[in-house]
């Protein structure tokens, strides 16, 4: 589904992390671990195609869904409108925004403008958008951030269903929050070796 070999990215002429090799197939759940600023987000953005790698090859044969720190919610639109927009723009035509909102536990906030939602609710909104997306590959940047206890169980459920149904996911977490699903593989992001290329 996704194959990355010797992937690196240079910021200010210094590689952000050591070259990364990663193969993601159907049913895989990869968890990127590493200290803050080790480049987890940068690597995810590379995999999502938002950034072009300085060196290395990246081949992705399927569509990807991206949930970053910035959740792409329009503050003036309410939750339902945001989800309908997401569905019309790049979602599955048969997906129903109402059902996705209900699954993400946002039934009571449907007509609330996104600007007034709490951080946890906004993250649930982003997760609801994931449900509408046809992309088999999920790229999640610290999905557990801002989620309360049943938010975490909700996310674990979504991940289990998605991976179980043959999808794949690459996510990053900081700290000890790991998905409560067995069979996930970890990839530690190592800082770039000191010294230089030439």
């Amino acid at each position: 589904m996704l194959q990355a070999s010797r992937l690196t990215l240079e910021r200010h002429f210094h590689p952000v992390f050591a070259p990364v090799d990663l193969v993601v197939g159907r049913g895989d759940l990869w968890v990127l671990t590493g200290a803050n600023g080790s480049g987890k987000t940068t690597l995810l953005r590379l995999l999502a195609g938002l950034v072009t790698p300085s060196e290395g090859q990246l081949a992705r044969s399927v569509a990807a869904a991206w949930v970053g720190h910035r959740l792409a919610l329009k503050d003036d639109l309410d939750v339902l409108e945001n989800l309908q927009l997401a569905r019309d723009f790049a979602g599955r035509t048969d997906a129903d925004p109402l059902d996705a909102a209900r699954k993400a536990g946002l039934e009571m906030a449907l007509d609330q403008p996104a600007g007034t939602l709490s951080a946890g609710q906004r993250k649930r909104c982003a997760l609801a958008r994931l449900l509408l997306s046809p992309a088999p590959l999920w790229l999640l940047d610290e999905p557990y951030a801002n989620l309360d206890r049943d938010g975490v169980t909700l996310l674990d459920g979504l991940l289990a269903d998605h991976v179980g149904a043959g999808g794949a996911c690459v996510m990053s977490t900081h700290g000890d929050l790991k998905p409560a699903i067995d069979g996930y593989r970890e990839l530690a992001i190592l800082p770039a070796p000191p010294g230089d290329h030439w």
Partner: protein, 249 residues
């Protein structure tokens, strides 16, 4: 990597470029000095005064070559920009952004010498003449490219943004040039030609010599600036440390 890109990569490799341009720069300065001296001698001393404008026509020998260069440097800069944007060749990015100040200098000299030439010819320092006006717009284009480059902190991203702007500017250059010319003929009868085509050979020669001199000047300035920027950016790398340590040119 495609063969072309590997070729570019090989040519574009910073240490190779640094050494190659290091050897080239002195020769460019020598060529510039010789041509400029010869051109100025022919222009200021040998060439006759113009029967209409008198001595003030001698300003042409700095004004016209600078004007030609100001347009040429923009086109060359945009060409580097295309290389930088399409093939992500780092040396092309550096050459692109190093050309901008030199181009702006040419445009500035063209504007100042044009207005100083205008004073005795038309009686005022600034006339909204077609060529001077499009030079002024060209100066804004240069300042836009430099301004956009400095607005980003990550150098590679800044260079690509400035390259894109240079290309958009290049596409608009002819449109701006002809619309200003059309606007000028609309509002003002054609003023006497600043660089008339049927020009006497004794005046044409210094013009061509100076034109060649300004090209060598551009090459020398460009490579010097590019080598500086390259060295500063790559100071962490071994080849740059060796170049810096030995203190050689």
């Amino acid at each position: 990597m495609s063969r072309l890109k590997r070729l570019f990569h090989q040519f574009g490799s910073p240490p190779w470029f640094y050494r190659f341009s290091g050897k080239l720069v002195p020769w460019l300065w020598v060529a510039f000095a010789l041509l400029a001296a010869w051109g100025l001698y022919r222009g200021l001393v040998v060439a006759p005064a113009d029967y209409q404008q008198g001595e003030s026509v001698r300003i042409m020998y700095i004004h016209v070559p600078s004007a030609w260069m100001s347009w040429m440097v923009y086109a060359v800069m945009a060409g580097f920009g295309i290389c930088a944007l399409v093939w992500r060749v780092r040396v092309a990015e550096i050459l692109m952004i190093s050309s901008a100040p030199v181009g702006a200098a040419f445009t500035l000299v063209t504007l100042v010498s044009g207005s100083l030439w205008g004073r005795p010819t038309w009686g005022t320092y600034w006339v909204w003449d077609a060529r001077l006006t499009s030079e002024l717009v060209l100066l804004f284009l240069y300042l836009g490219v430099i301004g956009l480059y400095n607005a980003f902190d990550e150098p590679r991203k800044a260079a690509r943004a400035a390259s894109l702007l240079a290309i958009v500017g290049l596409v608009n250059l002819p449109i701006i040039h002809y619309s200003v010319n059309w606007w000028n003929t609309l509002h003002q009868p054609a003023s006497i030609g600043l660089d008339g085509s049927s020009i006497h050979p004794s005046m044409l020669w210094p013009l061509l010599i100076m034109a060649a001199a300004t090209k060598f000047y551009y090459g020398a300035c460009l490579l010097t600036r590019a080598r500086n920027r390259l060295l500063e950016q790559d100071r962490g790398k071994r080849w740059a440390r060796e170049a810096l340590a030995e203190g050689g040119r």
